[in-house]
């Protein structure tokens, strides 16, 4: 399945784009997604943390992704 990914902050700058398309097996989890993401964008692995949001909520490593999910890469937040 093809996933459309949103990127923000330093992750967006590292990717050079605010969106990214990634191809994963059906029923892939966030853990699988991050592994693929780190091979495409190794710099992301150096961040302090990297969360993945699914449909505007933080996901867990074992969260299963679907092609119609809204998926976003969330580097360490620093609002306020």
């Amino acid at each position: 399945m093809k996933l459309q990914i949103k990127l923000f902050g330093i992750a967006r700058e590292m990717a050079g784009s605010s969106t990214l398309e990634i191809e994963l097996e059906e029923s892939a989890t966030i853990k699988d997604f991050k592994q693929t993401l780190f091979t495409v964008l190794p710099d992301l692995a150096r961040l302090r943390t990297l969360m993945v949001a699914v449909n505007t909520d933080y996901g867990e490593d074992d969260t299963i992704l679907r092609s119609d999910d809204e998926i976003a890469v969330i580097p360490p937040v620093s609002g306020g």
Partner: protein
């Protein structure tokens, strides 16, 4: 969760709504754009649970829609604009007004401003970026958490995005409670938790470079 219930008649036009997508699991409506330009929606029979709507961007002119049974100013002020991400200068008075309540004896306000130094470096300006739909959702969630802990009347949180100069306001949090002690505690909890979970990012720009705050260990 029931979000919108309306019954348009044949022939009504919905100019300006470009996309309405209900996302699985979020109790949310996403991607409504251009509500400003809506004309000719008739026969809306009550927007019932506005509270549950998350992630709506830019609904500003609810007033013009005919036939809504609840007061539009009520919906706009109490439920929609209390949580806001804006690329315009923030107005602390507006945030305070949104948090005021006749039942409250206290309104605590936190105003976060841009300071000119960070870890011994001279900061020239800041840039904030937000994942808006999620940021609004998280603001609502942490408000709900705060309501479990303190007897809160109202909460308002506005966060600025875009490029900010030294001294400008980046965030305003206001919360009203019956007595002052819980207002201070709730306000501190809200801003502390906002900084931990709300997807907003800050880039500090120095004379000789720039850094995304807290990105690296």
């Amino acid at each position: 969760m029931k979000l919108l219930s309306f019954h348009p008649s044949v022939g009504d036009s919905f100019k300006g709504i470009k996309e309405i997508k209900i996302i699985k699991g979020i109790k949310g409506i996403k991607g409504i754009k251009g509500i400003k330009g809506i004309k000719g929606i008739k026969g809306i029979k009550g927007i019932k649970i506005i509270k549950g709507i998350k992630g709506i961007k830019g609904i500003k002119i609810i007033k013009g829609i005919k036939g809504i049974k609840e007061s539009s100013s009520n919906i706009q002020n109490q439920e929609l604009m209390n949580y806001k991400i804006s690329n315009q200068a923030l107005d602390p008075q507006e945030v305070i007004r949104l948090a005021e309540s006749d039942k409250a004896g206290a309104v605590a306000v936190f105003i976060g401003t841009v300071r000119n130094h960070s870890q011994n470096k001279h900061v020239v300006s800041l840039e904030y970026e937000a994942y808006e739909a999620m940021a609004i959702r998280k603001m609502e969630e942490i408000s709900e958490e705060a309501r479990q802990k303190w007897p809160i009347e109202k909460i308002a949180m506005h966060h600025r995005i875009g490029k900010l100069s030294i001294g400008e306001i980046a965030v305003v949090v206001a919360v009203s409670t019956p007595h002052r002690k819980e207002s201070f505690e709730a306000c501190e909890f809200l801003i502390d938790t906002l900084k931990q979970v709300v997807p907003i990012w800050k880039k500090e720009i120095y004379e000789d470079g720039e850094v995304w705050v807290a990105a690296h260990a």
